[in-house]
Protein backbone atom coordinates (compact mmCIF):
# COMPACT_ATOMS: atom_id res chain seq x y z
CA UNK A 1 0.00 0.00 0.00
CA UNK A 2 1.53 3.28 -1.04
CA UNK A 3 1.89 6.15 1.36
CA UNK A 4 -0.11 8.66 -0.67
CA UNK A 5 -3.04 6.31 -1.00
CA UNK A 6 -3.15 5.78 2.76
CA UNK A 7 -3.11 9.56 3.25
CA UNK A 8 -5.99 9.83 0.82
CA UNK A 9 -8.01 7.08 2.49
CA UNK A 10 -7.41 8.29 6.05
CA UNK A 11 -9.86 11.24 6.04
CA UNK A 12 -12.40 9.06 4.24
CA UNK A 13 -12.17 6.46 7.01
CA UNK A 14 -12.39 9.19 9.63
CA UNK A 15 -15.63 10.59 8.19
CA UNK A 16 -17.11 7.11 7.79
CA UNK A 17 -16.31 6.22 11.41
CA UNK A 18 -17.58 9.60 12.63
CA UNK A 19 -20.79 9.03 10.70
CA UNK A 20 -21.24 5.60 12.31
CA UNK A 21 -20.43 6.92 15.79
CA UNK A 22 -22.62 10.02 15.63
CA UNK A 23 -25.38 8.33 13.65
CA UNK A 24 -25.74 5.51 16.16
CA UNK A 25 -25.50 8.03 19.01
CA UNK A 26 -28.47 9.85 17.51
CA UNK A 27 -30.30 6.54 17.13
CA UNK A 28 -29.75 5.88 20.85
CA UNK A 29 -31.82 8.98 21.61
CA UNK A 30 -34.36 8.59 18.82
CA UNK A 31 -35.22 4.86 19.05
CA UNK A 32 -38.52 4.12 20.77
CA UNK A 33 -37.42 0.73 22.04
CA UNK A 34 -34.93 1.24 24.86
CA UNK A 35 -33.32 -2.15 24.19
CA UNK A 36 -32.55 -1.12 20.61
CA UNK A 37 -31.13 2.13 21.99
CA UNK A 38 -28.67 0.11 24.06
CA UNK A 39 -27.64 -1.91 21.00
CA UNK A 40 -27.01 1.30 19.07
CA UNK A 41 -24.97 2.53 22.01
CA UNK A 42 -22.70 -0.50 21.51
CA UNK A 43 -22.31 0.41 17.84
CA UNK A 44 -21.41 3.95 18.88
CA UNK A 45 -18.79 2.59 21.29
CA UNK A 46 -17.39 0.51 18.45
CA UNK A 47 -17.10 3.62 16.30
CA UNK A 48 -15.14 5.36 19.05
CA UNK A 49 -12.86 2.32 19.39
CA UNK A 50 -12.20 2.39 15.63
CA UNK A 51 -11.46 6.13 15.86
CA UNK A 52 -8.90 5.36 18.56
CA UNK A 53 -7.30 2.86 16.18
CA UNK A 54 -7.00 5.52 13.49
CA UNK A 55 -5.18 7.68 16.05
CA UNK A 56 -2.72 4.83 16.76
CA UNK A 57 -4.11 4.56 20.28
CA UNK A 58 -4.40 0.79 20.30
CA UNK A 59 -4.51 0.47 24.06
CA UNK A 60 -7.40 2.92 24.34
CA UNK A 61 -9.19 1.00 21.61
CA UNK A 62 -8.73 -2.23 23.56
CA UNK A 63 -10.02 -0.50 26.70
CA UNK A 64 -12.98 0.84 24.75
CA UNK A 65 -13.90 -2.61 23.45
CA UNK A 66 -13.22 -4.50 26.67
CA UNK A 67 -14.62 -2.09 29.25
CA UNK A 68 -17.22 -0.06 27.39
CA UNK A 69 -18.59 -2.72 25.07
CA UNK A 70 -17.69 -5.77 27.10
CA UNK A 71 -18.73 -4.53 30.51
CA UNK A 72 -20.63 -1.25 30.59
CA UNK A 73 -22.88 -1.98 27.61
CA UNK A 74 -23.60 -5.44 29.04
CA UNK A 75 -24.42 -3.83 32.38
CA UNK A 76 -26.83 -1.45 30.64
CA UNK A 77 -28.45 -4.31 28.72
CA UNK A 78 -28.83 -6.30 31.93
CA UNK A 79 -30.32 -3.31 33.70
CA UNK A 80 -32.85 -2.94 30.89
CA UNK A 81 -33.75 -6.62 30.98
CA UNK A 82 -34.21 -6.41 34.75
CA UNK A 83 -36.77 -3.62 34.53
CA UNK A 84 -40.27 -4.60 35.47
CA UNK A 85 -41.93 -3.19 32.39
CA UNK A 86 -39.65 -4.88 29.87
CA UNK A 87 -42.64 -6.96 28.71
CA UNK A 88 -43.85 -3.71 27.16
CA UNK A 89 -41.23 -3.09 24.44
CA UNK A 90 -42.26 0.53 24.08
CA UNK A 91 -41.15 1.69 27.49
CA UNK A 92 -41.71 5.42 27.56
CA UNK A 93 -38.37 7.05 26.70
CA UNK A 94 -39.45 10.66 26.63
CA UNK A 95 -39.65 12.67 29.79
CA UNK A 96 -42.74 14.60 30.77
CA UNK A 97 -40.80 17.69 31.78
CA UNK A 98 -39.51 18.32 28.28
CA UNK A 99 -39.49 22.11 28.73
CA UNK A 100 -36.98 21.78 31.55
CA UNK A 101 -35.05 19.25 29.47
CA UNK A 102 -34.91 21.63 26.52
CA UNK A 103 -33.75 24.39 28.86
CA UNK A 104 -30.93 22.27 30.32
CA UNK A 105 -29.95 21.08 26.84
CA UNK A 106 -29.84 24.64 25.53
CA UNK A 107 -27.80 25.70 28.54
CA UNK A 108 -25.33 22.87 27.93
CA UNK A 109 -25.09 23.80 24.25
CA UNK A 110 -24.51 27.44 25.18
CA UNK A 111 -21.65 26.58 27.53
CA UNK A 112 -20.15 24.16 25.00
CA UNK A 113 -20.16 26.81 22.29
CA UNK A 114 -18.81 29.32 24.77
CA UNK A 115 -15.98 26.97 25.73
CA UNK A 116 -15.19 26.04 22.14
CA UNK A 117 -14.98 29.68 21.12
CA UNK A 118 -12.28 30.17 23.74
CA UNK A 119 -10.10 27.63 21.96
CA UNK A 120 -7.90 28.68 19.14
CA UNK A 121 -8.64 26.56 16.07
CA UNK A 122 -4.98 26.22 15.21
CA UNK A 123 -2.12 25.17 17.41
CA UNK A 124 1.62 25.49 16.84
CA UNK A 125 2.07 21.90 18.00
CA UNK A 126 1.60 19.02 15.61
CA UNK A 127 -0.40 16.10 16.99
CA UNK A 128 2.01 13.44 18.12
CA UNK A 129 1.88 9.80 18.97
CA UNK A 130 4.56 7.86 20.73
CA UNK A 131 7.48 7.15 18.43
CA UNK A 132 7.28 3.69 16.96
CA UNK A 133 3.49 3.73 17.06
CA UNK A 134 2.92 1.34 19.95
CA UNK A 135 2.04 3.40 22.99
CA UNK A 136 1.16 0.38 25.10
CA UNK A 137 4.77 -0.43 25.94
CA UNK A 138 5.71 2.95 27.50
CA UNK A 139 2.36 2.96 29.27
CA UNK A 140 2.97 -0.43 30.81
CA UNK A 141 6.54 0.51 31.66
CA UNK A 142 5.45 3.67 33.50
CA UNK A 143 2.69 1.78 35.27
CA UNK A 144 5.14 -0.85 36.52
CA UNK A 145 7.92 1.53 37.57
CA UNK A 146 7.07 5.19 38.23
CA UNK A 147 3.42 4.62 39.06
CA UNK A 148 3.75 1.33 40.88
CA UNK A 149 2.01 2.47 44.06
CA UNK A 150 -1.05 3.91 42.21
CA UNK A 151 -1.11 0.69 40.19
CA UNK A 152 -1.33 -1.45 43.31
CA UNK A 153 -3.86 0.93 44.85
CA UNK A 154 -6.07 0.38 41.80
CA UNK A 155 -6.50 -3.23 42.85
CA UNK A 156 -7.67 -2.06 46.28
CA UNK A 157 -10.10 0.30 44.55
CA UNK A 158 -11.39 -2.56 42.40
CA UNK A 159 -11.89 -4.76 45.45
CA UNK A 160 -13.75 -1.91 47.16
CA UNK A 161 -15.96 -1.59 44.08
CA UNK A 162 -16.62 -5.33 44.10
CA UNK A 163 -17.52 -5.39 47.78
CA UNK A 164 -19.66 -2.28 47.48
CA UNK A 165 -21.53 -3.64 44.47
CA UNK A 166 -22.24 -6.96 46.18
CA UNK A 167 -23.43 -5.31 49.38
CA UNK A 168 -25.71 -2.91 47.49
CA UNK A 169 -27.10 -5.64 45.25
CA UNK A 170 -27.76 -8.00 48.17
CA UNK A 171 -29.49 -5.34 50.22
CA UNK A 172 -31.85 -4.68 47.33
CA UNK A 173 -32.61 -8.37 47.16
CA UNK A 174 -33.53 -8.50 50.84
CA UNK A 175 -35.85 -5.49 50.95
CA UNK A 176 -37.72 -5.58 47.67
CA UNK A 177 -38.90 -8.88 46.28
CA UNK A 178 -38.66 -8.23 42.58
CA UNK A 179 -40.70 -10.42 40.30
CA UNK A 180 -38.58 -13.41 39.44
CA UNK A 181 -39.85 -15.02 36.33
CA UNK A 182 -36.74 -16.83 35.20
Amino acid sequence: MSYSLSELVRPLIFYLLSFITLGSAIMVVVKRNIFHSALFLILSFFGVAALFITLDAEFLAAVQVLVYIGAIAILILFAIMLTRRISDPLVRQTTRSYILGAFVGALLLFFLIFALLQLSPTTPYAPQTVQGGDATYPLGELLMTNYLIPFEVISVLLVAALIGAIILARREKRTGKRGEKR
Binding site: L75, L158, A169
Partner: protein, 118 residues
Amino acid sequence: MFSDYAVVGITIIVSLGFVAVAIVSAWLVRPKRPSKLKQSTYECGEKPVGSGWVQYNVRFYLFALAFVVFDVEIIFLFAWAVVFKDLGIFGLIEMAVFIFILLFGLIWAWRKGALKWV
Protein backbone atom coordinates in the same frame (compact mmCIF):
# COMPACT_ATOMS: atom_id res chain seq x y z
CA MET B 1 0.04 0.74 13.44
CA PHE B 2 -3.12 2.08 11.89
CA SER B 3 -2.66 0.19 8.61
CA ASP B 4 -2.36 -3.10 10.50
CA TYR B 5 -6.06 -2.83 11.17
CA ALA B 6 -6.95 -2.66 7.49
CA VAL B 7 -7.55 -6.40 7.63
CA VAL B 8 -10.05 -5.86 10.46
CA GLY B 9 -11.91 -3.30 8.37
CA ILE B 10 -11.87 -5.60 5.34
CA THR B 11 -13.20 -8.47 7.46
CA ILE B 12 -16.06 -6.31 8.75
CA ILE B 13 -16.95 -5.13 5.23
CA VAL B 14 -16.78 -8.66 3.80
CA SER B 15 -18.88 -10.12 6.62
CA LEU B 16 -21.50 -7.38 6.26
CA GLY B 17 -21.53 -8.01 2.50
CA PHE B 18 -21.86 -11.75 3.07
CA VAL B 19 -24.91 -11.29 5.29
CA ALA B 20 -26.44 -8.75 2.91
CA VAL B 21 -25.97 -11.03 -0.13
CA ALA B 22 -27.39 -14.03 1.76
CA ILE B 23 -30.47 -12.16 2.96
CA VAL B 24 -31.17 -10.31 -0.28
CA SER B 25 -30.70 -13.37 -2.51
CA ALA B 26 -32.95 -15.43 -0.22
CA TRP B 27 -35.53 -12.64 -0.30
CA LEU B 28 -35.44 -12.61 -4.13
CA VAL B 29 -35.71 -16.38 -4.58
CA ARG B 30 -38.07 -17.53 -1.82
CA PRO B 31 -41.83 -17.87 -2.25
CA LYS B 32 -43.83 -15.43 -0.10
CA ARG B 33 -46.84 -17.12 1.45
CA PRO B 34 -46.94 -15.91 5.05
CA SER B 35 -49.21 -17.55 7.59
CA LYS B 36 -49.75 -16.91 11.28
CA LEU B 37 -47.81 -20.00 12.27
CA LYS B 38 -44.88 -19.15 10.00
CA GLN B 39 -44.58 -15.66 11.42
CA SER B 40 -44.52 -16.77 15.03
CA THR B 41 -41.21 -16.68 16.90
CA TYR B 42 -39.04 -19.73 16.25
CA GLU B 43 -38.23 -21.49 19.49
CA CYS B 44 -36.47 -24.67 18.39
CA GLY B 45 -39.65 -26.03 16.89
CA GLU B 46 -41.62 -25.63 20.12
CA LYS B 47 -44.71 -23.47 20.33
CA PRO B 48 -43.59 -20.10 21.75
CA VAL B 49 -44.96 -19.43 25.22
CA GLY B 50 -45.57 -15.84 26.26
CA SER B 51 -43.56 -12.83 25.19
CA GLY B 52 -39.83 -12.77 24.57
CA TRP B 53 -39.61 -9.58 26.59
CA VAL B 54 -39.49 -11.15 30.02
CA GLN B 55 -37.96 -9.66 33.10
CA TYR B 56 -34.70 -11.36 33.97
CA ASN B 57 -33.54 -12.49 37.36
CA VAL B 58 -31.85 -9.76 39.42
CA ARG B 59 -29.09 -12.26 40.14
CA PHE B 60 -27.68 -11.76 36.64
CA TYR B 61 -26.85 -8.18 37.56
CA LEU B 62 -24.71 -9.25 40.50
CA PHE B 63 -22.60 -11.42 38.21
CA ALA B 64 -22.36 -8.58 35.70
CA LEU B 65 -21.11 -6.25 38.45
CA ALA B 66 -18.46 -8.75 39.53
CA PHE B 67 -17.54 -9.23 35.88
CA VAL B 68 -16.91 -5.49 35.39
CA VAL B 69 -14.32 -5.49 38.18
CA PHE B 70 -12.34 -8.33 36.63
CA ASP B 71 -12.81 -6.85 33.18
CA VAL B 72 -10.99 -3.72 34.35
CA GLU B 73 -8.31 -5.97 35.84
CA ILE B 74 -7.75 -7.48 32.37
CA ILE B 75 -6.92 -4.00 31.05
CA PHE B 76 -4.02 -3.75 33.48
CA LEU B 77 -2.93 -7.27 32.61
CA PHE B 78 -2.65 -6.09 29.00
CA ALA B 79 -0.38 -3.19 29.90
CA TRP B 80 1.65 -5.50 32.10
CA ALA B 81 1.95 -8.31 29.54
CA VAL B 82 3.57 -5.96 27.02
CA VAL B 83 6.44 -5.09 29.35
CA PHE B 84 6.59 -8.37 31.27
CA LYS B 85 9.63 -9.79 29.45
CA ASP B 86 11.76 -6.74 30.23
CA LEU B 87 10.72 -6.47 33.85
CA GLY B 88 11.35 -10.10 34.65
CA ILE B 89 10.76 -11.41 38.16
CA PHE B 90 10.12 -7.90 39.50
CA GLY B 91 7.15 -7.48 37.17
CA LEU B 92 5.87 -10.90 38.14
CA ILE B 93 5.87 -9.94 41.84
CA GLU B 94 4.13 -6.63 41.09
CA MET B 95 1.36 -8.36 39.20
CA ALA B 96 1.15 -11.12 41.81
CA VAL B 97 0.47 -8.49 44.50
CA PHE B 98 -2.12 -6.85 42.25
CA ILE B 99 -3.92 -10.12 41.55
CA PHE B 100 -3.64 -11.28 45.16
CA ILE B 101 -5.51 -8.21 46.39
CA LEU B 102 -8.23 -8.84 43.81
CA LEU B 103 -8.24 -12.52 44.71
CA PHE B 104 -8.98 -11.45 48.27
CA GLY B 105 -12.07 -9.66 47.00
CA LEU B 106 -13.11 -12.72 44.99
CA ILE B 107 -12.70 -15.01 48.01
CA TRP B 108 -14.72 -12.57 50.10
CA ALA B 109 -17.48 -12.62 47.49
CA TRP B 110 -17.31 -16.40 47.41
CA ARG B 111 -17.57 -16.67 51.20
CA LYS B 112 -20.50 -14.25 51.18
CA GLY B 113 -22.25 -16.53 48.70
CA ALA B 114 -22.39 -13.91 45.98
CA LEU B 115 -21.27 -16.44 43.40
CA LYS B 116 -23.97 -18.92 44.33
CA TRP B 117 -27.05 -19.22 42.18
CA VAL B 118 -30.02 -19.22 44.50
